[in-house]
Amino acid sequence: MQRLIPFGLAGIAPALALLAVACGPVGPIPGTRLSGEVVSAAVEDWSSTRDHLEIEVETRGRWLPHAVTTICMAVGPRLYVPSRNASEKSWVQNVLRDPRVRVRIAGRIYERTALRVTDPVELAPIALDFMRKYYGIEADDATFLAEPPAPGEDRADLWVFRLDPRGPAS
């Protein structure tokens, strides 16, 4: 059986990589360039994203675009994406280097700038929307903890990015 394992590894890696390069992210496997119709009109209300549990975000990697599947939350005209254990994620590192992103929702592309949110007042409704949308639960109040976990503290280091419209020169 041990002899078969390298064949299995050799099988899964190139096949998934080929699919991802060809089609954008495939579930948890990152992809490259997202294709679709680019929407240039301003979006005043993102509530329609409640029907989309997953969206795709393309960031600018060092050599190639790097696109991932992620979740999103909407609060009025603002769209947000979270990242658990953010410091370990390639796409987050890309955003820190170059905040320009392209978001694909229902086959349409929205060009945006990702900005990390740390204000507890802004984070509160995002946390409540996350709980309602993805877990079907609610509380009197909630917020994401923006500060990193203390040493030895057993909790995720979660970052939230707001996806703002790009300026005309971006």
């Binding site: 059986m1 078969l4 394992i5 064949f7 299995g8 590894l9 050799a10 099988g11 899964i12 890696a13 190139p14 096949a15 998934l16 080929l18 699919l19 579930g27 948890p28 549990l53 979270p82 658990r84 946390a127 996350f130 709980m131 309602r132 949308k133 993805y134 877990y135 079907g136 639960i137 609610e138 509380a139 009197d140 109040d141 909630a142 917020t143 994401f144 903890l145 976990p149 057993d154 909790r155 995720a156 280091d157 979660l158």
Partner: protein, 172 residues
């Protein structure tokens, strides 16, 4: 002709990858569910799961169907008891299987614990468990009681308590 050969090669590679993941990998491959978990089976009942608190990953295998299904679920250890926090969006396969057969095998640090997963239904208990779960998994601090909303969706949360088979009264 050449295109057909590429497609055939791709299909073959995917099949090989799927077979590897489900039969040979010895557990999930990242987010891709796997098959049988390997490890030394611990016969002693577990009275305190605190040792699993920092386990990364903690793996769970269900044998509800023909092929075993193993995954890395979200979990919390609360007051010494292990709980699984599952959502249809990410853990649909395991959720369906637990409803069919609650027997599971839990892997922590290469050791296997044969347990059963008992669904928690009491709203007060769910609130008590979800609060530390939200903090651990998503850095969310909540105020007040946690309630289910009326809207049902793919992401609806299910909480399972992991128990020794004898305690839960299930067949070993």
């Amino acid at each position: 002709m050449r295109r057909r050969a590429w497609v055939a090669a791709l299909v073959l590679l995917l099949v090989a990858g799927a077979v590897y993941a489900r039969l040979l990998a010895g557990g999930p491959l990242g987010p891709v569910p796997g098959g049988w978990l390997r490890g030394e089976v611990v016969a002693q009942p577990v009275s305190d799961w605190s040792f699993a608190r920092l386990a990364r990953p903690l793996r769970v295998e269900s044998r509800a169907r023909l092929l075993p299904h193993s995954t890395d679920p979200w979990f919390i250890v609360h007051e010494g008891r292990l709980h699984l926090l599952l959502t249809g969006l990410l853990h649909g396969g395991l959720l369906e299987r637990l409803d069919e057969d609650p027997r599971i095998r839990v892997e922590v640090d290469g050791k296997i614990y044969e347990q059963v997963a008992v669904r928690v239904e009491d709203p007060a208990e769910i609130s008590r468990l979800v609060r530390p779960g939200l903090r651990k998994l998503f850095a969310i601090e909540t105020v007040g009681e946690i309630r289910r909303t009326s809207a049902a969706g793919a992401g609806n949360l299910a909480v399972f308590r992991v128990e020794n088979p004898r305690v839960a009264g299930a067949a070993p």
